[in-house]
């Protein structure tokens, strides 16, 4: 599709994929200027590395990978994540009695903005790219079990932001690997209603 020195393909690449890349970038970054910068950055890099692309049908996935890397790289200082702060146990789950409350695009973005960059990326891969846990594991080069664990925690945090009214449990403050208490205040996170 896009090869170095072939302006025709690059223009087509932009025409066909800039909207999807921008939408993904917006969900990750949370602001229009940042999303636009990220989108431009993705295509700049894509132009420079066009020769690396071997399969034309994987262009979008390739662009999304560049986008994720650019986004994570732009977050030089990772947001602290309360590792192990969630008690994700079936025992604690009440019966779901009501359908999930309706949310809109702005609410979703506000919820995403409160999550760490790593959480946003794995949620983007799941919701936006519609990748299975196997595909996420392949792309991130981590074990499938780790993906499932990270995904479950990220989704629980997202729901905690989206549906605070469903908070039913509290979890005791956790300490990180160094023994210090997490700098992020622990929230009561709803797992399931």
């Amino acid at each position: 599709m896009a090869t170095e020195g072939n302006p025709l393909d690059i223009a087509r690449l932009v025409a066909e994929h800039h909207e999807a890349v921008y939408r993904y970038a917006y969900r990750l970054s949370g602001s229009q200027p940042d999303a636009e910068d990220l989108t431009q950055q993705v295509f700049l890099i894509a132009c420079g590395k066009g020769g690396q692309l071997r399969q034309a049908d994987s262009v979008r996935s390739w662009l999304f990978t560049i986008l994720r890397n650019c986004f994570l790289k732009s977050r030089a200082k990772p947001t602290p994540t309360p590792v192990g702060a969630l008690e994700l146990s079936l025992e604690n789950l009440p019966e779901p009695e009501h359908p999930p409350p309706a949310i809109d695009s702005e609410q979703l973005q506000q919820a995403l903005d409160r999550l760490s960059a790593q959480d946003r990326v794995i949620l983007g891969m799941f919701y936006f790219e519609n990748l299975s846990y196997r595909e996420i594991a392949e792309q991130l080069k981590i074990p499938m079990g780790t993906v499932m664990s990270r995904l479950a925690r990220a989704k629980a945090r997202l729901r905690g932001q989206l549906f605070p009214q469903l908070v039913q449990q509290s979890t005791p403050p956790k300490t990180d690997q160094t023994g210090r208490q997490s700098p992020v205040p622990e929230k009561k996170l709803p797992v399931w209603p």
Partner: protein
């Protein structure tokens, strides 16, 4: 009842199932499929999570795209010479092979027995190129007007004698021209090309930094030299804030291909954890693309830098070297973080 590890496993498996997918038929999730069949309560929770996920997945893509984004991207790419000019938003690029009959007086443009085939890039109003064919003819006429390149129809009558005469005239004219150019070359040299501007250099530095693998940063040797000493020296203008408890770190490594040059990259990490890379290459190098002569002799102001996607790039010349600083941060604070106060104007 399942044990705690098993419950955790089931919980994570439920969360891993994409809405509307066949993930439950994945062999790795067969245990979940069985558990859902056996436990109605679990199945209800599974359905609730699926309902939330369906809603979130739908809303995830609901992001309006700003107007003119495609044009702005292409303009950026044009700056770095990736896309030809003439592009308009909403149009699709197609290659058009042009055919037009020409009068005999214009035969010189297509001299020779074989038709002179040329393709020209056009932008036509179709996203998928379906209408490209229908627009070819109209665009062809414009093409002939603009680029003066035509294909001679095979049916066009060609007279052998006229062609032969024409061939000799062109041969003689060509030889005369070559001699004249060679003669002039002895006494006159053309104006030098202006070279890359400050913005183009900064853009190229930004592009180069972004294309480097993530692990390249900080992969070099610790640098303990003195600024402005030796070839490709560290810049006098740069200052990496340090602290007794958290010393700054500078590592140096080789780079090649930056503006066609070989040089050094100094990876900087300040006490505050702000990072940047200072690229240093020779101002002039044989075979490399030339740069503008009037480059600033000190780091430019923040508003003169090139910024994108959380990065900021600046370029200047110093002691016969071209310095390019790419800061991992696009704010003015991050940029000025690496400069001595008296240097920044």
């Amino acid at each position: 009842m399942a044990g705690e590890p098993e419950k955790q496993r089931i919980y994570e498996a439920i969360e891993a199932c994409r809405p509307g997918s066949q993930d439950l038929s994945d062999p790795g999730l067969a245990f979940l499929d069985r558990a859902l069949a056996e436990q109605p309560g679990l199945a209800a929770r599974y359905e609730w999570v699926q309902a939330v996920d369906r809603q979130v997945a739908l809303i995830f893509t609901e992001v309006p795209v700003p107007e003119g984004l495609e044009t702005r991207i292409l303009e950026t790419l044009q700056t770095t010479h990736w896309v030809p000019t003439g592009y308009e938003e909403g149009l699709c690029p197609v290659k058009v092979a042009c055919q037009q009959e020409v009068p005999s007086s214009d035969l010189t443009k297509g001299f020779g027995r074989e038709p002179n085939r040329k393709e020209q890039l056009f932008w036509v109003g179709s996203e998928d190129g379906k209408n490209a064919e229908s627009e070819k003819n109209g665009k062809c006429a414009q093409a002939a007007d603009s680029i003066q390149t035509v294909e001679i129809s095979p049916t066009q009558p060609l007279f052998a004698s006229a062609k032969k005469k024409l061939f000799w005239w062109i041969l003689v004219a060509g030889l005369a021209g070559a001699i004249a150019v060679g003669f002039l070359g002895l006494f006159w040299s053309p104006e030098p090309q202006p070279g890359l501007s400050l913005v183009e250099i900064q853009t190229e530095a930004l592009r180069f930094a972004m294309s480097e693998p993530e692990e390249a940063f900080g992969s070099g040797q610790p640098w303990i030299g003195q600024p402005s000493q030796g070839p490709l020296a560290f810049s006098r203008a740069i200052w990496v804030p340090s602290h007794r408890t958290q010393p700054a770190e500078i590592r140096v490594r080789k780079v090649s291909g930056l503006l066609g040059r070989d040089g050094l990259a100094y990876d900087l990490r300040s006490a505050e954890g702000i990072c940047a890379t200072l690229y240093v290459v020779p101002l002039h190098q044989a075979g490399a693309v030339s740069v503008a002569e009037q480059l600033p002799g000190e780091p430019p102001r923040y508003d003169e830098t090139v910024r994108t996607g959380g990065y900021c790039a600046a370029a200047w010349q110093e002691n016969g070297c071209l310095y390019m600083l790419v800061v991992h941060g696009d704010s003015a604070r991050a940029y000025y973080h690496f400069f001595r106060p008296q240097v920044v104007t």
